[in-house]
């Protein structure tokens, strides 16, 4: 995803796909992706899923950004969870089998933060979605108009580069 495309999706997302459910799912998916190291196939596939679904992109991107700062703390939870799962003797045959399937090691499942992050992220997905949905209601009620009417967003929309890019796409 190139930077222009991100800006485009971001601005577009401020006014479209803003149903509380869409905002909720955007935040939930952003939270899940944000927990994982990005240089893995798992994170990249989740990003593709995020972009392919009709969810709110700006909220997802902002959540991912926020997770960057929270990750040093979250890793202290996801790393031991992942370590426990990956070293569990009951799950050992499953991991060993996955490890020997082509392409699967590229998902980084054998990284403690990826495995732990997926589990923690999936467990917290529903609560985060619900919280995100509540935030979506509040956003639509008071924040959306303020943001779209702000000088910064107006300035961005008016820039010739983005204008050309939007028309071209």
């Amino acid at each position: 995803m190139n930077p222009l495309s991100i800006i485009r999706q971001f601005i577009k997302g401020l006014t479209s796909d803003t149903d509380p459910e869409q905002i909720g799912w955007g935040i939930a998916l952003g939270f899940l992706i944000g927990l994982l190291p990005k240089a893995t196939l798992t994170a990249q596939l989740l990003l593709v899923l995020l972009m392919a679904l009709r969810v709110n992109i700006p909220m997802a991107l902002l959540t991912m950004l926020a997770m960057l700062f929270l990750n040093p703390l979250m890793d202290k939870l996801t790393d031991p969870v992942g370590y426990y799962l990956l070293t569990s003797s009951a799950l050992y045959p499953l991991w060993a089998r996955l490890y020997n399937i082509p392409v699967v090691p590229w998902t980084g499942f054998n990284n403690t933060v990826v495995a732990g992050g997926l589990v923690v992220g999936l467990v917290l997905l529903a609560p985060v979605y619900l919280l995100g949905k509540k935030f979506g209601v509040a956003y639509n009620a008071s924040l959306r108009d303020k943001l779209t009417g702000s000088k910064f967003i107006k300035g961005l929309k008016a820039s010739w580069l983005l204008d050309w890019y939007f028309k071209g796409n």
Partner: protein
């Protein structure tokens, strides 16, 4: 579904396909050319590179690698290199090639365009530059000065002597090593083991159950014998290590010889011993060949990391930890199981060569087999046999190579330096035999090149003293053969080469005939000056080794006496307990435990 997102991605995939179909091969060709140019330090031409992704394969044709030393010569060229890459390991980013073929390999072919790369300067190793320099600086014309008595005025100080530094280094090394050996020779450890056995003996002796007692006594006898054996082995090891320290004195002696030569140089006197003359005659010819060989060896070392195991087992990721699981089939990152090589050697009358190189890999520890190479060729009285092995499956890379090449047609070979003395060898046939081994950075090798049936023409025009010139001409007249020997040792970064040639001995003989007495006198003067400057260092080292060796011996003797005494006494006690004197109370049954 957000089709506006999905459709552009499909278009992108089509673009990716188009890129690989139309642009990948030219780009790969360009990057391969740049990479090879960087490795060779000269221009590289590649006619065509073809790749296929459906059935992963690679083919490169018309490759010529220029020489960094000779502008209009190719180091090597080959007509085609082709292989198929296994598909399944490729999904794990592993390039596994079962069989590859390198055809039309030729060395030293001429090229029409310059091979020089802009801004690239071939760096000559210090030892090769030294060899060439020695040859250049050898001016036999100065030999006439020997009678002038100029030698006496030259001052020699310890600071200017390389051997003084060697003596100082040796002293520091000996002090550290003798301290370590002395610690090892101490009987404390053995005494502790003896005390433990004695305590066990006392405890066992107090027991009433004679079966248990017998079992423990039997174990103790074994322990005492083991202790004596261990000490014997340790003593042998300590004595051997102490003796090996004296090897360092050979280095000092070699440095002293070089210092004497250097002082002779200061006295404007050329060095006339066989070693120096051999370096003068064969040095320049051997230097370039050695540099090429070392360059290739360094390249092999570069792409066979010291211990790729360390990399393989790296467990820390940027975030989290990576847990590895056993692989049903673990592949190295890059592996060519077998490369069939065919080509020609020599340009005028080429010799067809063919062979295989097996186990070319970047991770030998995973592959578990060493790299081996075998090339052979024979034609009309000429024969070549090359074998090499590089084993990096352990903690240290080691290997060896042998080359035998007979029936080499000698067109022209120039030895020595026309500015001082040399010889031109034409015609005849040569036989080369060489072996090189390496372990880690250490290298060791010997080579022998014999030319027979040739015409040897002395080049002595630059020699001023007429009697010496005549003697040199006489010494080489009628010769039909030459033997050049080379021994290499030291490390890859700092090799040490010793050269010999029968021409040097003849030249030395001629020199002695003319200036023998004067030369010996001047050399004795130089030696005297060097020895006087070295005396404090040498006597300090002698006294250190003498006293430390004595101290070590005394310590070992004392330890041995103690162990033998206590051990024997304990064994006797155990023996008595096992078979008490007549009328004794206990007779242990003979049991095997």
């Amino acid at each position: 579904m957000r089709w506006s997102y999905i459709l552009p991605r499909f278009a992108f995939l089509i673009l990716v396909w188009a890129f690989f179909f139309f642009a990948f091969d030219p780009l790969l060709k360009w990057s391969l050319r740049k990479g090879m140019e960087k490795a060779a330090g000269a221009k590289v031409e590649i006619a065509k590179v073809e790749t296929s992704f459906l059935h992963p394969s690679f083919r490169m044709t018309g490759v010529a690698v220029g020489s960094a030393q000779e502008e209009f010569t190719n180091t090597l060229e080959f007509s085609a290199l082709e292989f198929r890459i296994n598909g399944a390991p490729l999904l794990e980013k592993k390039f596994i090639i079962d069989e590859a073929a390198l055809a039309g390999l030729k060395f030293g072919t001429p090229r029409k365009t310059s091979a020089k790369l802009p801004f690239v300067k071939e760096e000559e190793s210090s030892f090769v530059a030294g060899l060439k320099e020695e040859s250049k600086n050898m001016a036999l014309g100065r030999a006439a000065d020997m009678k002038s008595g100029a030698a006496a005025s030259v001052e020699v100080s310890a600071d200017s002597l390389s051997s003084a530094k060697v003596y100082q280094d040796l002293q520091a090394k000996y002090e550290a090593q003798y301290a370590e050996l002395s610690k090892k020779a101490d009987s404390k450890e053995y005494q502790a083991r003896l005390d433990a056995i004695k305590t066990s003996y006392a405890e066992a002796n107090a027991k009433a159950d004679f079966l248990k007692k017998a079992k423990e006594f039997s174990k103790m006898r074994k322990d005492v014998k083991q202790l004596t054996e261990d000490f014997k082995n340790d003593r042998k090891l300590i004595e051997e290590t102490a003796a090996s320290l004296n090897e360092g004195l050979k280095t000092a002696e070699e440095a002293r010889r070089r210092d004497i030569d250097a002082v002779m140089g200061k006295m404007k006197m050329p060095s006339m011993d066989a070693q120096s003359l051999a370096r003068l005659l064969a040095g320049p010819a051997v230097a370039d060949k050695t540099q090429s060989a070392l360059k290739w060896l360094a390249l092999v070392r570069k792409y066979m990391p010291e211990n790729s195991q360390k990399k393989m087992l790296k467990a820390e990721a940027k975030r989290g930890r990576v847990i590895s699981f056993p692989k049903e089939q673990a592949y190295p990152s890059f592996l060519i199981k077998k490369l069939a090589v065919s080509g020609e050697l020599g340009l005028d009358v080429p010799l067809d060569i063919a062979g295989t190189i097996e186990g070319i890999t970047t991770q030998p520890q995973i592959y578990g087999k060493p790299l081996t190479a075998a090339l052979k060729g024979s034609k009309a009285g000429r024969a070549l046999d090359f074998r090499a092995l590089a084993d990096n499956t352990g903690s240290v890379i080691k290997g060896n190579a042998q080359l035998r090449y007979s029936g080499i047609a000698v067109k022209e070979l120039a030895l020595g330096n026309p500015a001082s003395v040399g010889a031109s060898i034409t015609g005849g046939t040569g036989r080369f035999e060489g072996a090189l081994s390496f372990e880690g950075e250490k290298i060791n090798g010997a080579a022998d090149y014999r030319i027979a049936g040739a015409k040897v023409v002395p080049q002595a025009e630059a020699i001023q003293p007429a009697p010496l010139k005549a003697a040199v001409m006489r010494s080489m007249s009628g010769l039909t053969g030459v033997i050049i020997g080379a021994k290499i040792s030291g490390t890859l970064a700092n090799p040490d080469i010793a050269l010999t040639t029968d021409l040097a001995e003849k030249l030395g003989g001629a020199f002695k005939d003319v200036f023998g007495a004067e030369y010996a006198k001047v050399r004795a003067q130089a030696q005297e000056k060097v020895d006087a400057a070295l005396k404090p260092f040498k006597s300090k080292l002698d006294s250190l080794t003498g006293s430390r060796q004595k101290e070590l011996k005394e310590k070992l003797d004392a330890s041995q006496k103690n162990i033998n005494g206590s051990g024997d006494a304990l064994l006797n006690d155990l023996k008595e307990q096992a078979s008490p004197a007549e009328g004794g109370k206990m007779k242990l049954p003979k049991l095997k435990f």
